[in-house]
């Protein structure tokens, strides 16, 4: 092999790969072509052509078909100067992409031509990129996804058994703003499952204890606390300000209120509920799934139900269900996978069984039916089956 093998290979690729200049590339993108930045993640994060897809050359063959499923769609690849992307263009051709062009001069030429650029990680600092490194290499997350998580506002209703695990993992994962609504104080009997709290916090407000734990865990998370009982007088103001609501309430009146407010404000309601060794989880959103009232039109009469305080709950159980809620929240935020719309997951800890059951909308639901006008909140005050 000659000492100039590399140069010869580049020269051969230049003959076989169609090359375009920055203006032509921009016109192609305007006409529907996808711009693909094949540089390393750090280079991409420091600035790229506006709208370009980050697909590092090392992962190109693995990710290309999931990121660009239409192989007839024109593709314009670029690197920093236009050499590495020649190899990427050839690889895409081998994968079956029909119209692959290389941006001569690369990103440098694009920027020098005054064409639009952007920081795809948006507000993510270097420290955040180090923290979320294992997310950034997942194609379904990446810099764009991590920025979505950072921009997301998630409300946790309850900082208890379900809210605790959900809060810990959502905070660790980089949800930018976590709202927590809870009026209660930490009690010794909470500590068997409410892992946000600790013995030194007994007697403190749960929202304050939660804030300290979350801020220790991830200082990049903004915590907004609401030291109130969620009720019909404050539900609109609180819920409207968030993108996703995680229902970790411990009583039926709050669960119906959360449902009704989420329907009213068109927010996804990530549901979880537990009893002893059994848990349920689903995701409700108007127009996409049944709502909680389609599932259970009314709460049980007090003599037909028991609360965790009365009947007990295995401490680990809300950990499992709360984390299902956290994962559904991440999926909704990233718009990936299949959320639990129209499905109810049942977990039976004693049988170690997960079942996914299909649930139906009530087409005449007074809250979520097509065209239904919001009928107002129902006051379940006096309902004692908490």
């Amino acid at each position: 092999m000659s000492d100039n093998a590399g140069k010869e290979l580049v020269a051969r690729l230049r003959e076989s790969v169609r090359e375009v200049g920055p203006r032509e590339a921009a016109d192609a993108a305007e006409g529907g072509a996808v711009l693909v930045d094949v540089r390393e993640r750090e280079e991409y994060a420091a600035g790229t052509a506006t709208g370009a897809l980050g697909l590092p050359k090392g992962y190109l063959e693995v990710w290309a078909e999931s990121k660009i499923p239409d192989k007839k769609r024109p593709v314009v690849v670029f690197c920093q100067t236009g050499v590495r992307s020649l190899f990427a263009a050839e690889a895409l051709g081998r994968l079956g992409y029909k119209d692959v062009r290389n941006l001569a001069g690369g990103y440098r030429g694009w920027a020098e031509a005054g064409l639009p650029t952007e920081l795809p990680g948006g507000p993510l600092s270097d420290a955040e990129q180090r923290r979320y490194a294992r997310h950034l290499v997942i194609p379904e997350v990446g810099l764009e996804g991590q920025a979505k998580l950072k921009n997301a506002r998630v409300l946790l209703v309850g900082a208890g058994g379900l809210g605790s695990p959900a809060a810990l993992y959502l905070a660790s994962a980089g949800i930018g703003t976590l709202g927590i609504v809870d009026f209660d104080t930490v009690d010794e009997s909470n500590l068997q499952r409410q892992v946000l709290h600790s013995p030194s916090r007994v007697g403190q407000k749960k929202v304050d204890s939660a804030r300290r734990t979350i801020e220790d865990l991830n200082p990049f998370v903004n915590v907004e606390t609401f030291d109130v009982r969620l009720d019909s007088s404050n539900a609109d103001e609180i819920i409207e300000a968030f993108d996703v609501v995680v229902d970790g309430a411990d009583n039926f009146p709050t669960r119906y209120l959360v449902n009704d407010a989420c329907v009213k404000h068109d927010k996804p309601n990530v549901h979880g509920s537990v009893f002893r060794f059994e848990g349920q989880a689903s995701v409700f959103q108007r127009g996409k799934s049944p709502c909680y009232r389609c599932l259970y039109p009314e709460p049980p009469p007090p003599h037909m139900t028991q609360s965790c305080a009365e009947a007990g709950v295995l401490g680990v159980l809300p950990g499992i269900i709360g984390l299902l809620q956290a994962i559904e929240t991440i999926k909704l935020t990233l718009d990936i996978g299949e959320p639990l719309f129209g499905k109810l997951v049942l977990y039976d800890a004693l049988a170690t069984s997960f079942r996914t059951l299909k649930i139906r909308r009530n087409e005449n639901c007074s809250y979520c039916a097509d065209g239904a006008e919001f009928p107002g909140y129902i006051d379940y005050a006096g309902f004692c089956g908490h």
Binding site: F252, F275, E278, P299
Partner: protein, 92 residues
């Protein structure tokens, strides 16, 4: 006549002395539920109201499918079907 099983949630099993599963017979949902109520008379009040309608906080699935809001009332039951009764729980 088909043989099916009815599975009950802990909340209801508690009031039946721990019974979590019943073997039942019938050709429709109504028939197998009636068989279940005859085998465990205390079950009826927890599942249906005085008109025989499922209580609003109770769900009934045939295998993986919810029967609530189904157009048909006399849903057929086949050999080996699993009828799952669920109820809303509030714990969090």
């Amino acid at each position: 006549m088909a043989s099916a099983t009815v599975e009950l949630p802990t909340m209801i099993a508690n009031v039946l002395g721990g019974v979590r599963r019943l073997e039942v017979n019938g050709t429709t949902l109504q028939e197998v539920l009636q068989d279940a109520f005859e085998k465990e008379p205390r079950l009826r009040v927890h599942v249906v109201d005085e008109h025989g309608e499922f209580r609003p906080h109770v769900l009934c699935f045939i295998n993986e499918d919810n029967t609530r809001w189904h157009e048909r009332r006399d849903l057929p039951i086949r050999d080996g079907d699993k009828i799952t009764i669920l109820q809303a729980v509030s714990g969090g």
